[in-house]
Structures are given as structure tokens and as C-alpha cells.
């Protein structure tokens, strides 16, 4: 019992302290995107944990508390959604058109390509909710039988890809509408994309964050319902 407790404490303290250190570096560097705490802190912990005599199992056990905080994090998303509500209501049709076609294109294409390439069920389950913002994607994927690490990896890879390629694709295809550009970035690259679209302007940026939050809602409701429907058939 006391060993488990000590392990939990050590995992939390090590993770939190390394995070604070990583955050300091990030802020000192004027928030360079490649110094994002997610990369630096992961690398540091990866190097540090063997010295603390921690193996994977005890670290994963010890850091369980973070998954509770992930759930309260999802609940907290209600606050930005509430603040954006007037904007959402004003543009409800446009936004619905955008997130439904974007979100469905994302889910349908993932299923189709995954099926063509013969990916396994666990991988597909972690792949499906990737257009939702990370905490929501995690909770949907775990209810489908996906794994947390794979889901995080997939969400991050597709967000980075969309962040880098997105603006070129939108320019190349001559998509000029501010709403279209903001929504596309917010849906495909979530927080990173919303941030990027703020560089284009206020309207694009607002649409970027609206795209991110509304897609999270769409994914979190339609995927579990769809699965239930398929199971019923």
C-alpha cells in the first residue's frame, strides 16, 4: 500500500515539476511552437524516469489521477462554448454546413482508408475521433475500445499536418471565405489551427475556435450513437 502511494506521489511530483520547467522554457523562448511543453516535457521525463527507478507500469499506475483531471477538463470546455454562443447562434447554418461536411468527411475517409490498408480494430478506434479536440477524442476513443497513447499520437500528428499543410491547401484551392478558412483550420487542427487562423484576422480566429468546439460536440455525440446503431443492426 505504502509503495503504491509513494509511487503515485513520485509520478505526480516528477510530472508536475518537469511540466513547470518545460513551461518556463516555453515562455522564455517567446512561445516558439517547437518548444511546446508537450515535446520538451515528454523528452525530459523519458530521460529522467529510469533514474527514478520507475518502469512503465508503475509510472502509468501512478499517473492515473491525470485521467480524472482530463474529465473535469472536458466539463470545463462548456465555458468557451458558452462564451462563443452568440457567435455560434448568429452563424448557425454556415457552421453546421461546415462542421457536418468536414467532420463527416474526416470520419468517413478515416474508415475508408483504414479499411483499404487493412488496419486493426484497436487502431481504427483510436483513429476515428481524431477531429475532436484531444480530451474529447480520448474519452470517445476509450469508449470505442481505442487506446489513449495511440489516440494522442494520431490527434497530434493530424493536427501538426493540418497546421503546416492547411494554409497552403486553402490558398491553392482558392478558398477565400473567412468563415471557411477559420472553420477548416479549427476542425482539422483544433487548438493549433484556431491559433493559426487568428493570425489571418479576428473573424477567422473566432471561427477557428468555434470550429474546434462544435466539432468536439459533433464527434462526441455522433460516433457513440453511430456505434450503437451499427451494433443494433
Amino acid at each position: 500500500m505504502s509503495i503504491t502511494f509513494g509511487n503515485t506521489l513520485l509520478s505526480i511530483v516528477a510530472t508536475a515539476l518537469t511540466y513547470l520547467f518545460g513551461l518556463r522554457i516555453y515562455r522564455k523562448s517567446n512561445q516558439k511552437s517547437w518548444l511546446n511543453p508537450l515535446y520538451t516535457v515528454t523528452l525530459l521525463l523519458f530521460l529522467l524516469l529510469p533514474f527514478l527507478h520507475m518502469d512503465v507500469k508503475s509510472y502509468e499506475k501512478g499517473s492515473k489521477i491525470f485521467s480524472l483531471l482530463l474529465q473535469t477538463g472536458i466539463v470545463s470546455l462548456a465555458i468557451p462554448i458558452y462564451k462563443q454562443f452568440p457567435l455560434i447562434r448568429k452563424n448557425i447554418k454556415k457552421i453546421t454546413v461546415g462542421i457536418v461536411s468536414g467532420g463527416m468527411a474526416g470520419i468517413a475517409s478515416s474508415v475508408a482508408f483504414a479499411f483499404l490498408l487493412g488496419l486493426k480494430g484497436e487502431v481504427v478506434a483510436s483513429l476515428l475521433p481524431k477531429t475532436a479536440t484531444l480530451p474529447v477524442a480520448l474519452s470517445v476513443s476509450s469508449s470505442l475500445g481505442g487506446t489513449a497513447p495511440l489516440t494522442i499520437l494520431f490527434v497530434l500528428i493530424s493536427a501538426l499536418f493540418s497546421l503546416i499543410v492547411g494554409p497552403h491547401v486553402l490558398d491553392g484551392c482558392n478558398i477565400k471565405s473567412k468563415t471557411a478558412r477559420g472553420l477548416a483550420m479549427g476542425i482539422s487542427a483544433q487548438a493549433l489551427g484556431a491559433n493559426r487562423s487568428f493570425q489571418w484576422g479576428e473573424e477567422e480566429g473566432a471561427m477557428g475556435s468555434v470550429g474546434m468546439t462544435t466539432t468536439a460536440i459533433l464527434v462526441s455525440v455522433t460516433i457513440p450513437m453511430g456505434m450503437l446503431f451499427i451494433a443494433y443492426l
Binding site: 511540466y19 512503465v56 465555458i79 474526416g106
Partner: protein, 120 residues
Amino acid sequence: MLRFIGQFVIILATLAAGNALSSFFHLPVPGSILGMFLLFLGLLTGVVKLRWVEGVANSHLRHMTLLFIPPVVGLFLNWGAVHIQLWKVLLVLSLSSLCILLGTGYSVELYEKRKRRRNE
């Protein structure tokens, strides 16, 4: 500090209510997401005031990254046991990201064009 804890208790209570709803009615939607809807409805109807939860929610969302670190570290420490074909996954991820970008971009642009034509 006390105010912070009080705000967090409200969020925790909403989460508990969401989880209870989800398991009681056997809903497919995760409890945390139902909790988000409950809190949103609470704010919309004025049952919950924004200033009761805003502080803790904002700092919570700002430090969300911290929560993703343990699983990613676990993934790398455990990389040998992960059997995914990386090139296939990368192909699926990039193709479907392109579909999302184009699907959203073209549909919204088309919608705006049609609306403008109708107004003229």
C-alpha cells in the same frame, strides 16, 4: 485558494452528475461530455453564474497539456510493444486531414455563394 477549490467542486459535481446520467440511462455518450452539456445548460439558463466557474475552468484549459504528457511518455517507454504500421497510419492521417480541410472549405464557400446569389 478557497474560491478556487469551490469552483473546482462545482465542476466536479457536474462531472459526477454527467457520469450518473450516463450510467443510469445506459447512454452511449461519455459522462464527461454530458457534464459539459449540463454545465453549458446551467450557464445558459442562469442557474450557474459564469464567475462561479470561469477562473478555474480557464486555468484548467490552459494547462491541459500537462494531462497529455503521462500517456505519451507511457507510449514511448512502451514503444516495443506497439504494433502499428507507421507508414499506413501516416497515410490515413494525412489523407483524411486533406478531406477535412477541403470538405469544410468548399462546403462553406459554396453555401456562402448560393446565399449571396439568392440575396441579389
